[in-house]
Symmetry: D2
Subunit: 283 residues, 4 copies
């Protein structure tokens, strides 16, 4: 585990002097910047930045920083946020019966690679209770026959466990629009195709029918429009004419779990800034 | 250049004993097989095979082989074909103003990597005449104002030059349905997206708008349905939020030319067998 | 799970008629070939082949097949072997403290993707006993202070559990020469570099010092020469100047487990034939 | 072509306030930063940065900027440099008989993708004179029988043509140590292996003998130690047991030219900073 850090992310209209003002402010308070990234979106003319600062180097505490930074933020019309690596994000994982993404995420978590808290796992099936509980993580099974009640229940569990982000690790259920809106930028899905190709159901069957020579996976934020939210990460893998749908499913599992793990890591480390229906990912 | 070879490709209904019959026939005539590939398409239950035989090892000549193989072919209800590496395929290249694919193909041709004849290059612009003629290849400029006349002209030039295959190396014109049908499996296009995503015009602009994290290119046979023919080869390359449409175009050129060169090579070496709207590529 | 199959692998001096003889033999006994692959090694002029046959289609049983095939095998001077998909290979996994490969292999096994038996896991540390035993797999901890005794113990356990193949899933111990020789082609290692670069200890540190722009992993058969045995599978992943050794270790884990899983799968499905210090992998 | 830009690159001991000081200085002079990148090398505790500034936005001219920036540079003990996109770098290309890299670079140059001047091409063979001169570029053939005289001649030609950088595009000759030293960071080579594997002669033969499953290419700065200089860019491509040395050479050509083109582009855009025997590449 690395030293404690603050991560400051900012979005504002682009103009001369933003980097100077922000880095000047940080330097005045002794802040040692370990990583700095910038981007200007040409269409919206908005500026995005991310700074990682060694916590020990910053003379004021976070509260003081907040108070003092607010006036500068107002001057530049900034949307901004600062997070503390000492406060881990709370990730609630939703699954169905397939466990390759779950197995991968839980291993990264228990080995310390993925620095989050996992307050609970929610599923619509009992199958994976034993594996989840072996990790000492509470497992909740939610009956999906009444979808409205089910999602009320899920939201209730999420709040009760003080969740920050929902991760749909092959949950295979469509999230209701109000939930998408209420938790915009906080619900992450892994879709088993290289979007925008093969959105919706049975993407590997669609890929097989079309005869593509590579298949892919896409990690994205969930919005009302099915499989159409801002893309965080994608990857592809080569297949050939000899591969059946079952072979594709098998190859696909390997990229699904890698792509989800990478996308979630970017999210957890505040590397992803949403800009319209696109993302800026400061890797 | 390697030793002279015959390439036998076969498609027929699947059943026991096809490999034994064909390899038995070849062995009886002393044929030394240097490469052999097989595939059964599960949906159509059709069997596909490709054999490369050292020409010098086969006792009968090609004419005799034809005569003798015909009865066995009938017994198994085979579609079959045998080609001779000593007879180079004649490739007519169609271009517009962009020359990265042309430059790449002509280099592979003049270095001896791509073993074909290029009887002529056809374009709707004069721009690349000098470069093509420097290679000693005839260059024909076709006026596209009357599309019907233009494509009659193109077909006439293709026949006059005894062309086997048309390669649309960023030709940017839609081929009329009758031509697609008449030359099915003999017109190859490079499309600058990872199909089926972003078919049609300006795929890099479409990709930019969607915010994908990789872009791609697709080499396919041309059919009546725009950008929907059997896919021969595809590849992708990673981009990020900092890349403009112009950057994508630049990265894209590198995969377009590689994907087209690979796809064309498979076609020229009789490695591609069409099966419905898909291809079997015996690499 | 797919239908029961026999897999026939053959290596012999190259000459005309081998495919015809073997496929003729199989066809005579009604054998339906579902996959067939061939390769001639140009240096040794040896021919290699692999055939997958539907078990139900073959009229004689395996014993009868053995008896009848032997005379033909002698005629062509064949090294050959036939395996039955109904008889699962028995894989003994050796580990140290790192568990990413173990976690990955056990998941593939319990999900049915990796069709093997795992009679036991052996380690020189107690750390992973709980995780292994949760799967119902016996766990043996071997004291390494006396290396000779330790490896005698390991070999004893391997025999006692009727092991076919040892998998060193980041075992971090050097296997004694006699063991390498006795189990040639049956001990698989995953090395955390793109061999032959960075053999031996601390490959990620070596890679960091050299300033390479990609790192890799290699799955290979273990021989007396450290990290120099026949390579089964490799892959690489891009890094950049911002990545520390710790980042490399993290990226590396993802390719280590994928490369090992792929290599082991090829081995288990009898797709790997050793030819000198190289492998033929019929994918 | 994009708008005119200044590119400021800096290396100095790491401490608090560097970004603030530099970006403050730029902002005071109205400088609009379009791209900014930072890196701290943990071993040497040196800080590296690169800023792209819109030329039109900066009130002082370059001369004035130089004068004013010098005192700040001294305060922070900076090695620094500012370049102007309006002054193209002058690239001298050295070749032997193989022309795939040359063909690729000249196409990128004549299409405007590679924004450099190419004052001349130098070769030890006459073969490619026609192709080079067709581009209107002077071609010099240097006799290599007396190596000392040959390299004096090459250096003379380089100076006479006011060259900035030598590009060894498969030149196949060892550069004398004094030249390496005199032009440190200004001679770029493409080596046809994934270094440090297979340095020296005939790397594809070495790769074939070792039985690796991927081959690669490396673009690096030339130093006295053969194939051991700071690596700028690398890539790999998959091969298999069926590929001969000739196939590897063919696949290799495609990555050699791509890797060289990428590495050269980074160099030309002042994205590469050397740090010991490693490079920082601000892509």
């Amino acid at each position: 585990m690395s030293e404690r850090r603050y991560t400051l992310t900012i979005a504002c209209p682009d103009r001369v002097g933003i980097i100077a003002a922000v880095s000047g402010f940080i330097a005045q308070h002794g802040g040692f910047i370990v990583e700095a990234s910038y981007h200007t979106d040409l269409e919206s003319q908005r500026f995005f930045m991310r700074q990682e600062i060694l916590a020990a180097s910053l003379s004021p505490g976070l509260t003081e920083f907040h108070a003092q930074f607010t006036s500068m933020a107002a001057e530049f019309d900034m949307d901004w946020r600062i997070s503390d690596s000492a406060t881990k994000k709370r990730i609630v994982i939703l699954i169905s019966k397939q466990d390759h993404c779950l197995n991968d995420l839980l291993h990264r978590w228990r080995s310390g690679e993925l620095e989050v808290d996992i307050p609970c796992v929610i599923s619509n099936h009992e199958d994976l209770r034993g594996f989840v509980e072996w990790h000492g993580i509470p497992f909740h099974c939610v009956d999906m026959t009444d979808k409205t009640a089910a999602f009320e229940n899920i939201e209730h569990l999420f709040k009760q466990h003080h969740g920050d982000t929902m991760v749909l690790a092959r949950f295979m259920q469509i999230i209701p629009p109000q939930l998408c809106e209420r938790y915009a930028g906080r619900i992450i899905n892994i879709h088993h195709s290289f979007l925008p190709s093969f959105a919706g159901a049975r993407p590997y069957h669609q890929a097989y029918q079309r005869g593509v020579k590579l298949i892919g996976a896409t990690c994205h934020y969930v919005t009302e429009d099915l499989d159409a939210g801002p893309i965080i990460e994608q990857d592809t893998v080569r297949i050939d004419h000899g591969d059946t749908v079952e072979d594709m499913v098998r190859y696909g599992r390997d990229i699904e779990k890698t792509v989800l793990a990478r996308g979630l890591r970017y999210h957890v480390e505040d590397r992803v800034l949403v800009c319209g229906n696109k993302t800026i990912v400061f890797r």
